[in-house]
Amino acid sequence: MNWAERVSPLVRSIPPSGIRRFFDIVAEMKGVISLGVGEPDFVTPWHIRESCVHGLQRGYTSYTSNYGLLELREEITQMIETDYGVSYNPKCEALVTVGVSEALDLAMRAILSPGDEVLVPEPCYVSYKACVTLAGGVPVSVCCTREHEFRVTVDQLAASLTPRTKALLIGYPNNPTGAVMPREQLATIAQFADEHDLIVISDEIYANLTYDGEHTCFSALPGMRDRTILLNGFSKAYAMTGWRIGYALGNEDFIAAMTKIHQFTMLCAPITAQIAAIEALKQGRPSRERMVAEYDKRRRLMVEGFRNMGLDCFEPKGAFYVFPSIQNTGLTSLEFAEKLLQAEKVALVPGDAFGACGEGYVRCSYAASSKNLAEALDRIGRFVKPLLK
């Protein structure tokens, strides 16, 4: 019996994550410095962990409302209103999810009909396209280039528009490029979405990790609140990746639809993580700001380091990745990553794991200690030197 053939063709059609493949190679090596990690190197601040322990001691072990604890939803909506000036009703316009990953999946399933197209600017987070496909939609890649600072433009979006285009899925600050979208440029996207009646899913998980200037929340742009499903979470800003806790904000109809799926598939996000998330929002700002200041210093170290090697390195303005070009080494992204790993034991992620147009680049996370970053830069420099001549 060939069981593989019994697997749904839709699932089979999705290629395995490029990152997964690389992980298997790295996992078998010793002495590797990894710049391939897409999560903070900090552990969750102690006061947040402690609040969870306290919650368990008091017996908080039950289900919560499908939407999540009301107290958490109130904290979330209040924070979004204070920071970005856009208000949501915590009772019916906010849904607590198991990370942004779940929220993204819910959003796609809630809005897409078979064959609906979703514009997906690339390079982007690895699960965007897969989530669209699994929801029966068709992802349409839109290639963002170094020339435009890895920002998507209205012209590019317009060129990919068809009568089936239903939504636009954006993620700024961006993983893997570190690109951000200034307000004026987002406003042009907003106008485009309005003109073509598109739903916008805005993944803003790295919003708090913005280094130059202020983050612009897409749903805070005029007229965008009801058109947007805003996704965010606690993983990056509060170093809470393993807690799996995120949220979606949007108009009542979208959130109700998403909650319908959520209640049948997930029921609710873990109460332990919800309690910790409340603490993060109530008291976590100082620790968050400390971590962000730390990333910012490392960011400068990395950009300078790559430029000094003779590699073109776009200056990231958000998240915790640099995305240097390795085109002048004459290697493909995958060759570069594999050879570097063999020669110098530094792990990074080939750019094409984030979409075809990431080819020619590699993603380096600077969520690592300054010491490891400095050592990694030395090793990469040694590897790159003979290739550049």
Binding site: I19, F22, G36, V37, E39, K297, L301, S370, K371, A374
Partner: protein, 167 residues
């Protein structure tokens, strides 16, 4: 000195506080200045005794050296004109004294003393410390175990448990 330079130096100190073994180049990149500027600031900070001394935190117990340390509460009679400072100076000059703070509350000085064994510390307290003019009383508490020192947890490092490559 202007506020900007003060703030920049504070940033430098924070970086050094985290990891003193960074090169001037690394520090310079992180603060967006030239390495020569780092050297200049370090020199100034040392001259001003803001950057006082750099020393490692050692788990001596693990290294096999079972030194003894004690926290001693000292009550003193302040002296005219010089207050607590003159007596403090007489105490802190002893090399056995690792730290000395003037405290609010039930006693005046908190003195940390280290010695190779219990007897040595006791000897120091009774013959050197208690006999200083103006010292009214001492209460000695021996340290049984060190959990955290200078903001560093001694024996409980939180290991990096992340997978090596994640999206």
């Amino acid at each position: 000195m202007n506020d900007k330079a003060v703030a920049a130096k504070q940033e430098l100190l924070k970086l050094l506080d985290q990891d003193y073994n960074q090169t001037h180049d690394q520090l310079a990149h992180q603060l967006s200045v030239k390495p020569e500027q780092i050297a200049q600031w370090m020199k100034e900070l040392e001259e001003d005794r803001i950057l006082v001394k750099c020393q490692p935190i050692i788990n001596w117990e693990k290294a096999g050296l079972d030194d003894v340390s004690a926290l001693i509460e000292v009550r003193i009679t302040p002296q005219r004109e010089v207050g607590f400072d003159a007596i403090a100076a007489r105490i802190y000059r002893f090399p056995e004294v690792r730290s000395l703070y003037l405290m609010s509350g039930a006693y005046d000085l908190a003195v940390t003393v280290e010695g190779t064994n219990l007897k040595e510390v006791a000897q120091f307290v009774s013959t050197k410390l208690a006999t200083i003019d103006g010292v009214v009383s001492t209460t000695t508490h021996f340290v049984l175990k060190k959990y955290k020192e200078e903001g560093v947890i001694i024996d409980d490092e939180e290991a990096d448990r992340r997978l090596l490559v994640t999206p």
